[in-house]
Amino acid sequence: MSARILRIELRRSTAPWICLAFAVLTLALLYLLPGPWAKGTGAWDQQWQGLVQWQRFMLTFTWPVVVGLGAWQGTRQHRSRMDEVLSSTPRSPWQRSATLAAAVAIGLTVACTAIFAVGAAQVASATSYFSLSWLAVFAVGVLALVAGSLLGMGLGHLLPYMVTPPLVAVGGYALVMMLLNIGISVEAGSDPWRMKVALLSPALDGAESAYRLVAHQVSLAQALWFLGIAATGFVLLAARGSWTRIASAVPGLLGGVLAMVLLPGQASAAYPHDTRAAALVCDEDGPRVCVTRAHEHLLDDFAGTAGQALAKLAVLPEAPTSVEEVPAFGNEERASLPRTADTVSVSSDILMRFEQSGEGESDGGDGLLMALLAGAGTPACGVEETEIPARIVTANWLLGAELQPMPILYPWISEDSSAYQEMVRPAWETLRSLPREEQVRRVAAVREAGLTCEGDQLDLLTQGVNPQ
């Protein structure tokens, strides 16, 4: 391959336009559209794994564009009426095609890296947790794009008509959307072939949380699949004879078969828990305060707030002595959260929201403190509707200030809302009218109910007992 010719192709082929379109489209989607990629612990600007996984998710929308633009590039030779003069030259069409393919591949790699760099600048300041688990996911993403553009180029060369590029792009969309729908319909215990087929998509599920990985087995199988597709596209681009064109299907089919054998059949195996990111890191200086390794950078600030919460809770009998972050893997039931008497659990999502509302700002810290005190330091059970007013009242009582809403957990319950007026305020006033010992007893009873998820917490507050 000639470096000079490669440079000409890099400048004059559609390579720079494919890359520009891809990068701009991806970044526009990430920045301008509100979506799950900007939320939660695994957001694209929060964790390295999240960044790469959401970048892969965006291929749902961008991959067909790249395939379509590749098809446009593939029609170039015919469009420019170059077939005749090229077929009189000695250099093999394989070398000619390889130079073009290399130009597009280099461009796409640069574009992917640029998008990654934009995200990395944000992630680097958002987290201190780093592992290289994302590398394979990223590399397979680049490979999927290169394979897609090559397939497009091959199809464009095979069918050099004006309608080919748009048809190829629309076909690409249909394919990706179909695989996405199959993926969405997969449930635990459903036919493993569904999951396997869904994983043939260039796009991956976005990172629901900071504690999910993509299995290396998935990356390996997808790498084989996309290598096969790339080979098929390249042969189509370079081939002259019809037999070679027919044979071009072989590597793609082979890659597909290998991938189907290797891919895991269950979502839990394809996207396993990241136990390393979820492992707890504790501050043992004062009371024990632990966060997951993914949020280690929050520990110092959080330890202060957690210490205050424990001090407030100390007025209750059998008060908890430590605070732990509970990693939300994204698929658990609320009632299954750990409920231990000596530990206050805080979900990763709450911790994140505290960070995003601005650590150090009084709002964020106070909000988090209230969230820790809600239900007298117990996680929500999510069973009874009346639980929420009880949680707001107990948090306020422990905080020891005037009654105020709790927007960090329950943004829909404002001071004007009927729930606030009809349940929160009356319960607050009833509780405050009682003798101090009775107040403590009732709040402790709410805590007891929160730890077992039995009984009506609001009744316990207002009446002291559960009507049997």
Binding site: S2, I8, R81, M82, E84, S88
Partner: protein, 269 residues
């Protein structure tokens, strides 16, 4: 600027004719467009004349190794191109401007000619010089760094000639190079053709008799896939008489030869 001379160019020729066809038959689709032609072209400029549809372009495509002969013999530079032979060695020494010359519009003239030089396997070290030389020769030096799409029709065709000569070919095939050119451009083209290397076998296909009469050393006239006449340009003019149609001696000779060919063809039937 000194031109890089390849080893193949300085090697002594071991063949009498650069192009030699015997009973050559070439199919264009289902039709046998070239149907038994005997030809021999050495160095010099050869005009390939004939009415539209005579089989000129099909013959040129066969000479350019784009089409494989369906029958008969074809030797280029002393090597047969029939059967499963490696054409690379021959192709390195061919320059070809197709009738429907296309190009990559976003390339600059220099990039385009350089790209073609690479495809023709011009040695890497000689490419830059060969490209510059070819561009200067067709008079596009001042447009060398402009995009191909900005060139006028005549300039684009000159760029087409530049790509054809960039490898210093020993067989140069120009199919209808003056089509679509205005009179002054055609004059420029003839000038250019005279300036091309003398040790090249140049074949210019055209249906314009005047193009041939002024620059070609030698003329071949084809009609209906067969060779009607081969000889010097002067012989073409001599073949006609005052009674034949045409505005110049060459044109009258051309009409006379074609008329005779038609008559003999009908007589044979």
């Amino acid at each position: 600027m000194a031109r890089v001379v390849g080893a193949a160019e300085t090697a002594p020729a071991n063949h009498a004719w650069e192009i030699r066809a015997e009973g050559l038959r070439v199919a264009a689709g289902r039709r046998m467009a070239v149907d038994g032609i005997d030809l021999a072209f050495g160095t010099g400029v050869h005009g390939l004349l004939g009415p539209n549809g005579a089989g000129k372009t099909t013959l040129m495509r066969a000479l350019a190794t784009v089409l494989r002969p369906a029958g008969g013999g074809l030797e280029l530079l002393g090597e047969s191109v029939r059967g499963r032979v490696d054409l690379r060695r021959i192709r390195r020494q061919i320059g070809y401007l197709p009738q429907d010359f296309g190009f990559y519009r976003r390339f600059t003239v220099r990039e385009f000619v350089e790209y073609m030089a690479w495809l023709k396997e011009v040695p890497k070290s000689g490419i830059a010089d060969a490209v510059q030389h070819a561009i200067e020769k067709v008079g596009l030096a001042d447009r060398a760094d402009d995009r191909m799409k900005t060139l006028s029709g005549g300039m684009a065709r000159r760029a087409g000639i530049a790509q054809a000569i960039v490898n210093g070919p020993r067989v140069l095939l120009l199919d209808e190079p003056t089509a679509g050119l205005d009179p002054s451009q055609r004059m420029q083209f003839r000038q250019l053709l005279r300036g091309l290397s003398e040790d090249t076998c140049t074949v210019v296909s055209t249906h314009l008799v005047e193009d041939v009469a002024t620059v070609c050393t030698d003329v071949a006239l084809v009609d209906e896939g067969r060779l009607v006449f081969q000889g010097r340009a002067a012989d073409l003019a001599a073949a006609g008489s005052g009674t034949d149609s045409g505005d110049s001696p060459s044109e009258r000779g051309y009409s006379a030869l074609l008329a005779r060919h038609h008559a003999s063809g009908e007589g044979a039937r």
